[in-house]
Symmetry: C2
Subunit: 477 residues, 2 copies
């Protein structure tokens, strides 16, 4: 790992981001344009994200399965809006086993079509419903402007695809999974996302309505961090998913899909990181604690190391790493683990051996403010409490930052000013023209109509027409 | 699930296999030739396989990462044997984002090349070694003759790729992972595989030596169930993976790779299954126990169901499912869970309520022989013991079957007879000509030179020339 410092966030946030991804060894550039290699540290973070989500999915009755990577091109064309949305982004397999294929296959950009095809085979009766299947996998979208984790040609995600016998149940599922993402983001990632509905312009290609969790990054840009889509009968009609209902009549089913991707790694980096590097929330951090032994010579070393081992054993319930590399100064090690965002550092030196203590240093409070000295007795309890405190502090800090950068914008001037320094929350008449005008003038897009609405009516901040809902405008990734 | 019976193994093993995959809802045919959809029950089995392996990999210092799906065609061409082996099986992406690509990309058939490229960037000094990375993912090989789980265009696997500073350490790793696969197969899958080295004809394209675990299926065919390859410096030279050694001299590194795939699901099906359906080893079974309530009317139902709930709670430490579907007979349910191979059935009826007992029915011993009545008191202990007993019985049965079908073949006549009814274990001179002759005459191939060698010398069963090692010949999947 390079020892040099990061470009400060305030100087060039985008450069800071690119550097941190490399220096914390989260990912590296692949030899194919726009693709990334997720390195072991980045993948361990993603594995923790996966575990936290998968547990939630299974607790709400979902099961995992695997559908093919390669999809016949003709499948994409069955849903008009869907193919319009995805056609420009496809990677196409034209040759297999040395032969030109009769029909080209696309590398899945998302799996509604092939899963819809299988569901049409599996669903016969209302007794087969609901189907609640999730898939963990990779997808490919031929993006022009790419950035590690945020937008890459290939990315990793989960995509849930469900089938229901009523519109009500399908909408409940759409909302349940939105809430699941919100719960995960807030309580595991300490990312205080805002839930809401996408505008018709911004919804998923083929959806009736799309729902999103939106996070505010430390440059105040928005990051769409997970989405849940209600399809009504759109895909059921395109793929002929029909069932015999309770009256023995054939009906089209209702479907949903919902996804969260490795993009969430970007959300964590840009919500919590600082100029020293990553800051990882304890619940998702691959390493929650690093123990750094401190000694100046062999005599001190042989005094310290047995205590380090005792401390390690005491903390075995946590994800703990002992940095016992020889020939490196403690300061060098501190710097490395700060860059990697390990939430808590445990220092053990000769004085600690003498006093039966350790020093604990919080990553989220650099310097003296975050340093405490505690007894080795009951250390596992002090550490557990401190990790909870760090988790809560990260969420509180990110929430405060977000709230400080949301501006109630009553008119167009306030709106255009607000999106230069944060997010604008404004009455909106619902027209695509107003969205387009804001985008053209400011590059800000509508992020979501939040669930939390004030009620009543107001005037659209863009055109002044009557409006019944408020919406967030922001520059976004 | 269809109620009709399976074609018996003895009548048509291949048909039995295809039916069981469908009827147990492990997988379904995808709309693209040779691809499969792994259904939730099949994927849950694979998830348990993944967990058992991943735990072993991590315990031996390996970490996971993710490398790109798409590989520049030119990468494949850097290792001569490798490209010769894989070129005929490639799926090729020629178009991306609506444009013809300057260089075609292949969908990875295996990842030695792209990982080798990244390793050449990451490895500078002996301090960077060893690299012990594993990847869970999907690969595509354009196979002509496909069969669910055994050989599909796309399949799921893990591929470990390691780099070492000495040949000794790389060979130790190759052998360590072979032993890991053996341990997993025997102790989790109850599949008594035989470890050994592949002949030069049968080794992986680009390897110095390939090592394998070979299982005997119930039709006596061999199934290669996991492989571990020693590459020497072949890939290091092709991809320029060099490091500064302890003397500050630049050296090529030594690499290995090792993989186990969804093919292992096929190994489990064909090692343990019978004419009633799947039989799953308790340690890997998605559902270890199914509780079937037995009642004839509402009165009995209201007597039985509260006890079923008590029993379920008592058995909550296991992977347990209560089949409380109304309107289906117990017999119908038994049949379904037998088809799905659930190791143990727990029956609770009115008499059991009265006697504070339950009936336990073993999947591996159908009928009365496998049925016992035990007290509800301490049920969790009886069940734990019985699951261990089932796990051991499956391994013992498969081992006995295997050993009954291995024949010491001294000459060519014995060899050709043996491979019609099982495996031949014969002295072999080491020549590819002798392998080719056996293959042409009998369709049997060499499976492995087992680790366990008798020592001494003998005469090659094919040509009569002196031989120092014994090898297995068998018809294989």
């Amino acid at each position: 790992m390079a020892e040099d410092k990061l470009t400060p966030q305030s100087e060039n946030f985008s450069e800071w981001y690119n550097q941190i991804v490399q220096k914390a060894e989260l990912a590296d550039y692949a030899p194919v344009r726009g693709c990334m290699v997720v390195r072991p540290y980045g993948w361990a973070l993603w594995e923790n994200i996966q575990a936290a989500l998968d547990k939630r999915f299974k607790a709400s009755g979902h099961v995992n399965a695997a559908f093919p990577l390669l999809i016949p091109m003709s499948f994409l064309e069955k849903e008009k809006e869907h193919v319009e949305g995805f056609a420009p982004e496809l990677a196409v397999v034209t040759h297999g086993g040395g032969e030109l294929l009769e029909e080209p296959l696309v590398v899945r950009p998302t799996s509604e079509t092939i899963i819809g095809y299988m569901y049409s085979k599996w669903v016969k009766s209302y007794r087969d419903l609901p189907i609640l299947i999730n898939q963990w996998g990779n997808v490919v979208r031929w993006e022009m402007r790419t950035r590690m984790f945020l937008r890459t040609l290939e990315f990793y995600w989960q995509e849930g695809h469900t089938v229901h016998s009523t519109d009500k149940e399908a909408m409940e599922e759409t909302r349940r999974m939105l809430d699941t993402y919100h719960d995960f983001a807030v309580n595991e990632g300490a990312v205080p996302v805002i839930r809401g509905r996408k505008s018709q312009t911004e919804k998923f290609a083929g959806a009736v309505s799309s729902w999103t969790i939106e996070g505010m990054m430390r440059d105040t840009r928005a990051l769409q961090s997970g989405t849940s889509h209600y399809f009504g009968q759109n895909f059921a009609k395109a793929f002929d998913i029909k069932f015999l209902d309770w009256n023995n009549e054939l009906q089209y089913a209702y479907t949903t899909s919902w996804g969260l991707s490795t993009r969430f790694v970007g959300a964590i980096i840009m919500t919590h990181g600082d100029d020293q590097g990553l800051i990882l929330p304890p619940r998702l951090a691959p390493t929650q604690l690093v123990i750094v032994p401190i000694y100046r010579d062999d005599a001190e070393r042989s005094l310290v190391m047995p205590v380090v081992e005792q401390v390690r054993q005491k903390l075995a319930a946590f994800r703990v790493h002992v940095d016992d590399r020889d020939g490196l100064t403690p300061g060098f090690k501190y710097h490395e683990w700060e860059m990697r965002g390990v939430p808590l550092r445990v220092e053990v030196g000769p004085k600690d051996v003498e006093k039966n203590s350790v020093a604990l240093a919080r990553r989220d409070q650099p310097g003296k403010a975050g340093k405490t000295f505690v007894s080795q007795d009951g250390l596992e309890h002090s550490v557990a409490a401190l990790l909870d405190e760090i988790q809560a502090a990260l969420l509180a800090r990110a929430t405060a930052f977000r709230d400080e950068h949301i501006y109630d914008a009553k008119d167009y001037q306030e709106l255009t000013e607000a999106v230069q320094k944060g997010w604008a929350l404004s009455w909106w008449c619902g027209s695509a023209e107003c969205e387009a005008k804001v985008k053209e003038d400011t590059k800000a897009t509508t992020r979501c109509l939040p669930l939390d609405q004030p009620g009543g009516t107001g005037k659209c901040a863009v055109c002044g027409q009557p409006a019944t809902e408020k919406i967030y405008f922001a520059r976004a990734y």
